[in-house]
């Protein structure tokens, strides 16, 4: 529409000499459009800023001017003069929306199993896929090659964009099957015990059921006698034996336990890639633990949130226990120590307790039936 941005006025010139009025207007460099004659009146339009310049022309030609309608953006915005903040807000919102919609604000990773999202996004960040990046500037083909080079466990990777969301799909490589070891080897005793069962798959049994063996004794030999002399093989099989294990746990009544203390919290507000630290920058000593709290909408993280960086410093904590508490703690630790015995069978368990002036000692003696053979290369 003509005159929309600067504003336009529809007017009526009544009586007088309309032709002279138009000629005078032209002489004043005022452009009149849509001029039409209706009876004694002449209707036309001009720019709002030129309307004042029409008055001398109207006076000379004897016409009376009357505004019929005001058109255009300035007149449309006039009612909002008292609410200029709203107009500025709307314009700012539109500008922001336009500026931010072409950027990357959410990066999602799909298909990864062993590689974490952070590992993948850390690789992609220097390659151009990060919050606030312009996706059009990214060379996807080069990015894929470089990302696959830096992520050796990933076999395939694709990057696609949908609005401000970039989706990274990966497929990890299948784990390779370890090749079977073929070097000549014996199976020897990993602990002292009494042999209960011997199963030989390859090699020559050196012990039989009921034999007592010491740690390091040969159980299954990889050296086979033949008509052509000794042949070396890799001994394979199972030797189950009865072994005795002793576990002793001492829990003092007063104990100093190493721990960490939170020395400082450093919050940082993150808003669309802009990080605003809410702390003074200074030297810190200790371990930094980062905790991210992002705004989530529909299960998807938005680039708005707070990052809390906790500075943890080494510290010690003194724990004081009563006799009962020390005993309970000793039994808890003993149960923890028994967990490795789960790969065998516990045939007997004898637990004894003793209390001294410094603490409580719990001793467990176990009779286990488990695999005692371990492979040892001959060469």
């Amino acid at each position: 529409m003509r005159g929309f941005w600067s504003g336009a006025v529809e007017f009526e010139a009544l009586g007088g000499f309309p032709e002279r009025f138009m000629n005078e207007a032209e002489a004043c460099d005022v452009t009149i459009w849509n001029a039409r004659r209706q009876g004694m009146s002449l209707f036309g339009s001009c720019r709002a800023v030129d309307y004042g310049a029409l008055r001398p022309a109207a006076k000379k030609s004897g016409v009376r001017l009357r505004i019929k309608r005001r058109l255009g953006l300035p007149f449309w915005l006039r009612p909002f003069r008292a609410r200029w903040g709203m107009v500025v807000g709307c314009v700012s919102a539109l500008v922001l929306l336009h500026a931010l919609s072409s950027r990357v604000w959410v990066v999602t990773v799909e298909g990864n199993q062993t590689v974490t999202d952070t590992e993948i996004t850390d690789v992609l960040t220097p390659l151009g896929i990060h919050l606030g990046a312009n996706f059009d500037d990214v060379d996807i083909a080069a990015l894929r090659l470089e990302a696959l080079r830096q992520l050796p466990t990933v076999g395939w990777l694709s990057v696609s964009q949908s609005g401000s969301v970039v989706t990274v799909k990966v497929k990890e490589k299948e784990p390779s099957v370890p090749t079977e070891e073929t070097a000549p080897a014996d199976i020897v005793a990993a602990a002292d015990g009494v042999v209960r069962r011997v199963t030989v798959t390859s090699g020559q049994a050196a012990v039989k059921e009921g034999d007592t063996v010491a740690k390091g004794d040969l159980l299954i030999s990889g050296c086979l006698e033949s008509e052509n002399g000794p042949m070396l093989r890799r001994a394979r099989g199972s030797v189950v034996g009865e072994v005795t294990e002793t576990v002793s746990i001492t829990v003092p009544f007063a104990e100093e336990v190493p721990c960490e203390k939170q020395a400082e919290v450093r919050p940082t507000v993150v808003f669309f890639g802009l990080s605003v630290p809410l702390y003074t920058d200074g030297e810190t000593e200790g371990r930094l633990v980062e905790e991210r709290r992002w705004v989530r909408v529909g299960g998807r993280e938005l680039p708005i949130g707070i990052t809390l960086t906790r500075v943890m410093t080494p510290n010690t904590q003194t724990i004081t226990r009563t006799a009962d508490e020390a005993l309970a703690e000793a039994h808890r630790r003993l149960a923890e120590a028994e967990k490795p015995f789960a790969d065998g069978t516990v045939e007997s368990r004898a637990v004894s307790e003793s209390v001294t002036e410094n603490g409580v000692t719990v001793t467990g003696v176990y009779t286990l039936v488990r695999e005692i053979g371990q492979t040892r290369d001959i060469f």
Binding site: E19, M22, E26, W33, R36, R37, Q38
Partner: protein, 90 residues
């Protein structure tokens, strides 16, 4: 020989379109709905059924119905409506 005649003879001698060197009036009419005039000096008559404009070569009078001068800038004017007659005077 005045300046205008010199320009007209030069145009003729060089085979240039009329109005190239002279400030002649150009009139372009599309169907019977729209007429564009270049070289319009002033408006002589402006009525619903008649618009007359003065040019260097005389007056050009448009007759018709619902006539409207939709644009006028400098020496150019656009007349729209249902044209029934175009007359040259002078």
């Amino acid at each position: 020989m005045n300046r205008r005649e010199v320009c007209e003879r030069t145009e003729h001698a060089l085979g240039l379109p009329t109005g190239t060197l002279t400030s002649g009036v150009r009139l372009e009419i599309t169907d019977n709905r729209r007429a564009v005039i270049e070289g319009c000096k002033r408006i002589v008559t402006y009525e619903e059924d008649e618009i007359c404009v003065a040019t260097a070569a005389g007056c050009v009078r448009f007759r018709g119905r619902e006539l409207c001068m939709t644009a006028r800038a400098g020496e150019q004017a656009v007349v729209t409506g249902r044209l029934t007659c175009v007359e040259y005077e002078g």
